[in-house]
């Protein structure tokens, strides 16, 4: 099969693939082989994956085909290839977090999302590259080399879920999972021109997600369109008794919600949003407001003053939690060990060798922020700022249903552009961080292009559990982007 064939086939949506496989018009094995062909054609250039799980995927696809042949329904994601960020546990399949520390580790259990995807008929095609332990905004902090942006391979795909974003953008898989602690799904989605969703904290189980910052982490999907993202959400959302922070409720179908339109919805424009976005990005955001107004929504100016402190609160809280979460990598039970004459030296050497510079930087920052004498000045204050941000959001959501911002301040930047300046890299997350601090849902939808014809994403933020309205707005933006020749639909 030729590359052209496979890539056009591969770009068809998860919704269509599942429908055709369930109805017997296509086989899961054929769909898989097409995607494997797309990977063969471009993976060496992109490096979206740490591991392509060819054999396991073929077995899973064959099982799906057998079910269909036997008259059984494999589920809503029947035969859909899915790429999994390599910080989610997959039983018997290496899970590295793109760190030397976990190189070769094979988890003895599956993450809840992995179990749920398999139960819905999805076929895991591989484990995707990320910034080590999900710490970064460019996927350059991987111990196994950077992922490149399929839209321009001299550019970063964003991060930390850059491999999952690139996999979907390159047609390696119609859908993928990422994790988002401060924007790690939405920012790479924007930079790669795909849809990316960070659900309400507690909506998707974190069990089996290797923790970065426990009170901020959420798993969510990447997809080529809003309907596919909704389809994945409907599969992975839901209460998990194995995650104490999982919300014990049934979630309404997002697939059903997206058709409802935006007429009458109140869309917030944040007038005191911290500046710094590129003019083209600002221009796309204005066009998005105009498109929603044209679709019958009302644009309302709101203020969320505490957002300006989001970056500080985040870069104290996330490293603090991370410093504790990553303390378990000590060379005793699993993963890497640098031999030494005593246990303490073994810890010091193992952790020095096993972690890359960004991870060490954050462990240092977080350890400092929690340590005696500094706790109140840093971590304690950051938790209070977090409250201010959530309170300001709550006030704003009394006036509006959702708020739009840029997802990222700029289009994809060149590899190496920000690697020497950690703070400049952190500023990529300015717009995405607040939703994590508040625990609110947010998503990025491609909306036109900016500098060098590279994709721009618009972020839709909503209040806790208001995903149905967020998805309605996303669908409207997607339709508008398609019709004015800006978004993916115009490619």
């Amino acid at each position: 099969m030729s590359t052209a064939d496979s890539s056009s086939f591969a770009m068809s949506s998860a919704t269509q693939i599942a429908a055709q496989i369930r109805s017997g018009q296509m086989t899961a094995s054929a769909v898989l082989e097409n995607h494997l062909a797309a990977i063969t054609a471009r993976e060496s250039e992109i490096h979206a994956f740490n591991l392509v799980t060819i054999d396991q995927a073929r077995a899973q696809a064959a099982a799906v085909d057998a079910m269909v042949a036997a008259g059984q329904d494999p589920g809503p994601l029947a035969g859909v290839p899915v790429a999994i960020k390599d910080n989610m546990c997959t039983r018997g399949v290496p899970t590295t977090c793109s760190s030397r520390m976990l190189e070769g580790w094979r988890p003895p259990y599956d993450a809840t999302v992995v179990t749920k995807l398999a139960a819905a008929g999805a076929v895991m095609i591989g484990k995707t590259n990320l910034d080590e332990f999900a710490m970064g905004s460019s996927t350059e902090n991987s111990a196994f080399g950077p992922t490149r942006n399929p839209r321009d391979t001299s550019r970063v795909p964003g991060g930390s879920s850059g491999g999952s974003a690139a996999a979907v953008a390159a047609g390696f898989a119609p859908i993928s999972l990422g994790s988002d602690t401060g924007g790690s799904i939405r920012q790479p989605a924007a930079l790669c021109g795909v849809v990316g969703v960070k659900p309400t904290y507690g909506m998707v189980s974190r069990l089996g997600l290797v923790a970065f910052a426990s009170s901020l982490d959420q798993i969510g999907p990447f997809a080529n369109d809003v309907a596919d993202a909704a389809l994945v959400m409907d599969v992975i959302a839901g209460h998990d008794p194995g995650d104490s922070t999982s919300i014990p409720m049934e979630h309404p179908s997002l697939t059903a919600a997206i058709a409802q339109g935006v007429e009458g919805l109140r869309i917030g424009r944040i007038t005191d949003l911290p500046g710094g976005a590129d003019p083209e990005v600002e221009a796309r955001l204005e066009e998005a407001f105009a498109a929603l107004a044209a679709a019958g929504a009302q644009i309302v100016d709101v203020q969320v003053p505490a957002l300006t402190y989001g970056l500080t609160a985040y870069y104290l809280i996330a490293p603090a939690e991370a410093s504790s979460n990553l303390a378990r990598y000590d060379g005793v039970r699993y993963g890497m060990r640098v031999p030494a004459s005593d246990t303490n030296s073994m810890y010091m050497a193992t952790r020095h060798e096993g972690f890359g510079p960004e991870v060490k930087r954050r462990i240092m920052l977080g350890t400092y922020a929690l340590s005696a004498g500094y706790f109140d000045a840093y971590y304690g204050k950051a938790l209070k700022v977090r409250r201010l941000i959530a309170d300001d959001f709550d006030r704003a959501y009394q006036q509006v249903d959702v708020m739009l911002t840029p997802t990222a301040p700029s289009v994809a930047f060149a590899l190496g552009a920000k690697t020497d300046d950690p703070l400049a890299m952190y500023l990529c997350d300015t717009y995405t961080i607040p939703s994590n601090l508040a625990g609110h849902p947010a998503m990025s939808v491609p909306f036109g292009t900016g500098a060098d014809d590279l994709p721009v994403g618009v972020q839709i933020m909503a209040a806790t559990l208001n995903e149905p309205v967020m998805f309605r707005v996303a669908a409207a933006l997607e339709a508008a982007a398609g019709s004015n020749g800006n978004g993916r639909g115009g490619q």
């Binding site: 870069y315 410093s323 246990t343 920052l365 400092y368 500094y374 703070l423």
Partner: protein, 100 residues
């Protein structure tokens, strides 16, 4: 705000975090952390006295499981990926120097 971070504090923090940083790494880290902490001083201007810290995004209480045995992991599968094993146990070099 505490005093500006210096190499002594960074060296102490690196020991707490069990990261064996070289002197030059400590210097670079000190510079980077200092720059970040300067940036993070923006929150010093905020009046936070009456604010209750927020630690969890979604308010849940009393999440409990029943006291019922679940299947254990397979010992051999677990020990197979361990760095050093003896007599079905995880082996470590002598435990000294852990006091600080």
């Amino acid at each position: 705000m505490p005093e500006r971070i210096d190499v002594h504090v960074v060296a102490k923090v690196s020991r707490l975090a069990r990261l064996d940083l070289t002197p030059s790494e400590i210097e670079v880290t000190t510079e980077q952390l200092a720059k970040m902490l300067d940036h993070f001083a923006d929150i010093d201007a905020v009046d936070l006295d009456a604010v209750v810290p927020m630690t969890q995004p979604y308010p849940l209480i009393n999440v409990l499981r029943e006291d019922v045995e679940q299947p254990c992991l397979d010992r051999d599968e677990v020990l197979a990926v361990a760095p050093d094993v003896e007599d079905h146990r995880f082996r470590v070099p002598p435990i000294i120097g852990l006091e600080d």
